[in-house]
Each structure stands twice: as structure tokens, then as C-alpha cells.
Symmetry: C2
Subunit: 215 residues, 2 copies
């Protein structure tokens, strides 16, 4: 069966592709290695040759997709910007523009969000996602902390509430987008949403302090 080295690599990729597809369709816990092997046109033997077990395979699949947030959010670059709000705004828009073009990223992110329980064996595997999220959260908070210290963050926002709101908005946007299977246009919805938020961060919104904005 040993064709050649490149052939073995193609087998490995085929297994990863199959894992992605079956995980996406059935969920991680409900998927057996036999199903993945069958989808890849192999047997379990091939999987156990290339990977230690399901967890190892899952991680390999995850690593291959290299979630691209990091690329856009170099916090040092953002902190170096003259207008941190504008820089963060632009970086976020870049992300909104990039996301729909990244098919594998969408699929893997969907698996991580909706097809995988955040506990048990997978806890360790999801640790890097959690870490990347909380890291991202902490780093953006630094941006808002700086904006606050420079007096650019309007009342009633604080660095904490503003960063939480920003994170919730972006995360909610992506989550809803993936959940509805791209049922709406990410930019068309996201851009005005972010503009409204950042506008408020800057203090441009009217009628703050009242329960509801003016009618």
C-alpha cells in the first residue's frame, strides 16, 4: 500500500478533509473514527497511522485552519496608531471583509462554536481557542484603557464596559452570521453597527443618561 511519501501526505490531507466534513455534519462527539475513515475512502488503520487518536486528529484539523484573527489584530500596531478607535474600527472591518472568503475558516469555526461541547476531552483542545479569545479580549481592553486614560472615551462608557460591548458585538455578529448560514451580509450589517458603537465611544450619541433615546 505504500505508494510514496507525497501519496501518504495526500492521504493525511484527505483524512483531515473528511474529519472537517463529518465533524461539521455530525458534531465532534457523535462522530466515530470509522465514519471519518469511510468518508476519506480509508480504514481506521490509516487514521491511527497518521494520528494518535480523535483528539489529536481534531487538533490537527484545528491547527490547519489557523484562525486568522491574530493576523488582523496586532495590538502593538493598533496601540501605536494615532487614533486607536479608527485603527480598531478599520481592523475589524478588514476582518468582516476577509471572513466570507475563508471557507475553511468558516467551517472550522462553526465546528468549534456549534458542533463541539466545551468540556471533557475537548476542553484541552479548546483551550487554545478560549485562550485566544480571552487574549483577544484582554488586548482590546488595553486599547480601551488607553483611550480612557486619554479622555477619549465618552461617558457613560468605561474601558471595561466598552471592551465588553465591542467584543460582544463582534462575536455576536460572527456567531449569528455563521448560525444563519450566512443569511445576511456581514459588511452591510456590521459596518453601521460598528459605526454606531464607535460613534458612541467617541461621545457623538445624543440623549445619553436617559433610559431610551429620543423618539
Amino acid at each position: 500500500m505504500r505508494r510514496t511519501k507525497e501519496c501518504a501526505d495526500r492521504t493525511r490531507e484527505a483524512i483531515l478533509d473528511a474529519a472537517e466534513a463529518v465533524f461539521f455534519r455530525q458534531g465532534v462527539a457523535a462522530t466515530t473514527l470509522s465514519q471519518i475513515a469511510e468518508a476519506a475512502g480509508m480504514t481506521r488503520g490509516a487514521i491511527y497511522w497518521h494520528f494518535q487518536n480523535k483528539l489529536d486528529l481534531f487538533r490537527a484539523m484545528q491547527d490547519r485552519a489557523h484562525l486568522p484573527k491574530e493576523r488582523f489584530f496586532d495590538v502593538d500596531r493598533l496601540l501605536a496608531a494615532e487614533d486607536v478607535f479608527a485603527a480598531l474600527f478599520e481592523a475589524t472591518l478588514e476582518l468582516l471583509r476577509f471572513a466570507p472568503t475563508d471557507g475553511r475558516g468558516k467551517r472550522v469555526y462553526t465546528i468549534l462554536l456549534f458542533r463541539c461541547e466545551y468540556v471533557g476531552e475537548m476542553q484541552e483542545a479548546l483551550a487554545c481557542l478560549r485562550e485566544s479569545e480571552s487574549d483577544f479580549c484582554a488586548r482590546t481592553e488595553r486599547i480601551f484603557v488607553r483611550a480612557e486614560s486619554e479622555g477619549r472615551l465618552a461617558s457613560p462608557w468605561t474601558a471595561k464596559t466598552a471592551s465588553s460591548a465591542y467584543f460582544a458585538a463582534v462575536q455576536g455578529l460572527f456567531t449569528h452570521w455563521l448560525k444563519t448560514d450566512e443569511g445576511f451580509d456581514l459588511m452591510a450589517t456590521g459596518q453601521p453597527m460598528l459605526e454606531a458603537l464607535f460613534s458612541s465611544f467617541r461621545g457623538a450619541g445624543p440623549a445619553r443618561g436617559r433610559a431610551a433615546p429620543d423618539a
Copy 2:
């Protein structure tokens, strides 16, 4: 072993409590009925007496928590309001105020969001959640459609983008709140966030149409 009717009911409740706790800790797929029985101080026999199987138990647990969104979002009431934006805004704030007081709701919602794969057997069980979500989404969209037809929805918003943005914001807020284990104050973050959004819906925001708000 048959103590009495009330005793049997208490057993049933104990099983549901145990299921809630173990599902929360271990995830749904990774949890076995033996573990639930042990946590309830019973054997699997008791579970199979009260419930058909794991799916039935899961649904019973879900039903018991009666996710309270419906209560706050009677769309007919909202549509009947003079100012639909104000009505929706207030209803959402009510939800933000209520959520932290509902311990069981928080736990069950966390299970539904993070401890349960959205596929396979559970697909049917999650159907009502999905339905309730998409239903909620559709109903709020009706509100925005009406606002749009009355000319109250400012450019560049459309009924579609506005309702998506609203939904993404609320969902993102709750999700982030649950994920960070109530790591921030829901009202303190949510209220300014919603004000910013609704303010923009009403057309109060400056510098729309540019890529970034003014510095």
C-alpha cells in the same frame, strides 16, 4: 420502594436537578445516564421509569427552565406601541435586568449554548430553541419592517440589516456574559450598547456614509 406520589415527584425533580448539574459540568454527549443516576442518588432504573431515554430527559430539563424570552417579547404588544423602537428597547432592558436573577435559566442556557452539539439526536431537541430563535428573529424583523415603512429607520439601515444587528448585539451580549461566567455587568455594558444602536437606527449618529466616524 413506593413511598408515595409526592415522593416520586421529588425523585423526578432530583433526577432533573442532577441532569442539569452533570450536563453543565460534563456536556450532554459525554454524560451517561449512570452518572446522572449516581448524582441523583438513584440507579438507572429510576431514570428509565420517569423518562424514556436521555433525549426525553434532556427535553424535560429544557422545558422545566422555560426560557423566558417569550414573556418579554410579545410582538403584538410591541407592534401596538406608539414608538416601536422605545418599546423594543425597554423590553430588551427588562430582559437584561431579569437574566441575572434566573439561576436555572442561566445554567440551562449555558448547556444549550456551550455544552451541547447542535446536531444528531439533539437536533430534534434543539429544534425548539432554533425555532424560538428564528421566530424571535423573524418577529423582531417585523418590528423593523414597520419602522422602515414609517420612515423611522435612518440610512443606511434596512429592516434586514437593522434586525440582524439588533439580534447579533443581544445574542452576543448574552453569550459573552455567560461565557465569561458573568465577568461583567450586563446592564452597565448592555444599556449604552443598545442606546448606541437604537440611536443609530433613529438617525442620530453623525458621519454616516464615511468609513469611520469622525475623530
